[in-house]
């Protein structure tokens, strides 16, 4: 069993997500930074889409009541096991009674804590990923306990050439309503520097606005990575917990790589859009 002694800022259980229910309005959810989450599973020989713990900016503190192998990936939160600093992107042996303190990140927003074996948590509509109105919990609270199946198989992992890195370039394709933008706004969008404003698992708001006053559209499908423009010129980039449809023009669409990278940007971070051809 593991017990959360401190919950952190926004700590959740995530797996790949909840697929096949978007028609009744159920979001995908799932790992915000899918690439780093899957690497944490890969290093422990877990199934690629195993559930794990996602921490945001301020990490939780976890007590282990049985021994296990864990792996932490993503942003460096300066995690400590008891009093020792531990490495990322490598299997770490945790003993019964050990306390894992994730700490805080100074660069990047999210880290992933995978346990060799599997965390027990309710599977709802095919996924353990926390989401309001779907799972009982929205975030992990202080005192929460989770059982996990121990897997004592030998780890075959040798070495992974992975270092955490942030990119200020966000790669995009044209969205269905790209053509509603004026030449001037397209120029602003593709050449100006933007900065991250309010953000969460559902969406990232950008601080800089677009001059165009666009009209709403007839509500239509959106997916994580869809970039919306509101009538007031606000740019919103949808993320993993986003709604299934929306009524704002869809001006751009992020690719998977940039969606993972965006999950690691935080309020105030700078970014540029780079338009790709499909």
């Amino acid at each position: 069993m593991i017990k959360f002694i401190a919950k952190g800022l926004y700590t959740t259980i995530q797996d790949e997500g909840r697929f096949g229910y978007r028609d009744i309005g159920v979001p995908y959810s799932g790992y915000m930074d899918k690439e780093n989450a899957q690497i944490a599973n890969l290093i422990l020989d877990n199934p690629l889409n195993n559930s794990l713990i996602e921490a945001t900016l301020i990490g939780p503190t976890i007590k282990f009541d049985k021994s296990a192998f864990i792996c932490i990936t993503g942003a460096d939160f300066n995690p400590m096991l008891n009093d020792d600093k531990i490495s990322l992107y490598t299997p770490i042996k945790v003993n019964k009674g050990d306390i894992l303190k994730i700490n805080n990140s100074s660069v990047g927003s999210r880290c992933y804590i995978s346990i060799k074996g599997n965390i027990n948590s309710d599977v709802i509509l095919g996924s353990k990923s926390f989401y309001s109105q779907i799972t009982k919990s929205i975030v992990i609270e202080k005192g929460d306990e989770f059982n996990f199946k121990v897997n004592n198989d030998e780890i075959t992992y040798k070495y992974i050439h992975k270092k955490f890195k942030l990119d200020s370039i966000v790669e995009v394709l044209k969205g269905p309503e790209f053509e509603c933008l004026s030449k001037e706004s397209i120029d602003t969008l593709l050449n100006q520097e933007f900065s991250i404003g309010i953000n969460n698992r559902m969406a990232y708001y950008l601080n800089e606005k677009i001059k165009d006053r666009v009209n709403s559209i007839i509500s239509s499908g959106v997916i994580p990575g869809t970039v919306q423009l509101t009538p007031s010129g606000q740019i919103i980039i949808l993320h993993r917990d986003c709604q299934t449809t929306g009524g704002y023009p869809r001006i751009l669409q992020l690719n998977e790589k940039s969606l993972n990278n965006l999950a690691q940007l935080r309020t105030g971070d700078k970014m540029f859009f780079k338009l790709l051809d499909l």
Binding site: F19, G20, I218, S219, G225
Partner: protein, 233 residues
């Protein structure tokens, strides 16, 4: 029908014809037909008011292959739809405590609050699509007198059960959420129940009839998981 590749594995099909009950039926039938011929190739298929968004399994099919399959569908076969339509009765409290934007619409559209309520109650609406949130229903069309733009700045917190107006549609928020619709009332009905085999009682193609209730009825109703009344057409 227009096709647009949203990304590597997502295809958007849009219809540009007038929004009415027959377009809703046509899109519902297309969705059913697409799912029956490519079921295993499709991860998600999201029906909206005038579009379908298809997310495919790239291990099984490519965007160009699925476009070819969809183009082969016989329009006449699809245009016949014999689904039984249902009318759900949804109680609404229009009290000013919950109808936070009703005065705004009253001013903008030069129509009294009472007339907004009566106009809203005067029609039976089509469920045009579901989405935005689990159980969120887009209903249309509303009377011209109720036409309004979405709010320029979306609200961060809209009350669970809120009834909204935007463009020529009305909607119901199944949970507290941010959103851009103008709020004119609230329903005590539970719209999305995860413990049910079928979390949503309604599907696109069904109909909704609103019925006015008082503030005290809303409050006494509020903590019950009532399904709305159903009439078969």
């Amino acid at each position: 029908m227009e096709f647009f590749n949203l990304n590597e594995n997502s295809l958007l099909i849009t219809w540009n014809s007038e929004i009415n009950s027959s377009l809703t039926r046509l899109i519902s039938s297309y969705k059913a037909e697409i799912l029956s011929i490519c079921k295993n190739d499709i991860q998600d298929c999201v029906q909206s008011i005038s579009s379908i968004l298809i997310i495919i399994d790239l291990n099984r099919i490519s965007i160009s292959e699925i476009v070819e399959k969809i183009k082969m569908i016989d329009y006449k076969k699809v245009n016949k739809n014999d689904r039984i339509k249902k009318v759900w009765e949804i109680p609404v409290c229009y009290d000013l405590e919950y109808a936070t934007d009703i005065n705004l619409i009253s001013d903008k559209n030069n129509i009294s609050v009472r007339e907004i309520i009566d106009t809203h109650l005067s029609k039976t609406y089509d469920v045009l699509s579901m989405g935005f949130l689990p159980g969120f229903m887009y209903l249309g069309k509303t009377d011209k007198k109720l036409y309004c733009e979405r709010k320029e700045k979306p609200s961060f917190k809209i009350r669970k059960g809120s009834i909204g107006l935007a463009l020529d549609q009305t909607c119901i928020y199944p949970r507290q959420s941010p959103g851009g619709w103008n709020i004119i009332g609230v329903t005590p009905i539970e719209l999305f129940n995860i413990n049910s085999k079928n979390p949503c009682f309604s599907r696109p193609g069904d109909k909704i009839q609103f019925v006015e209730i008082s503030k005290s009825e809303y409050k006494s109703f509020k903590n019950r998981l009532d399904k709305p009344k159903l009439k078969e057409l």
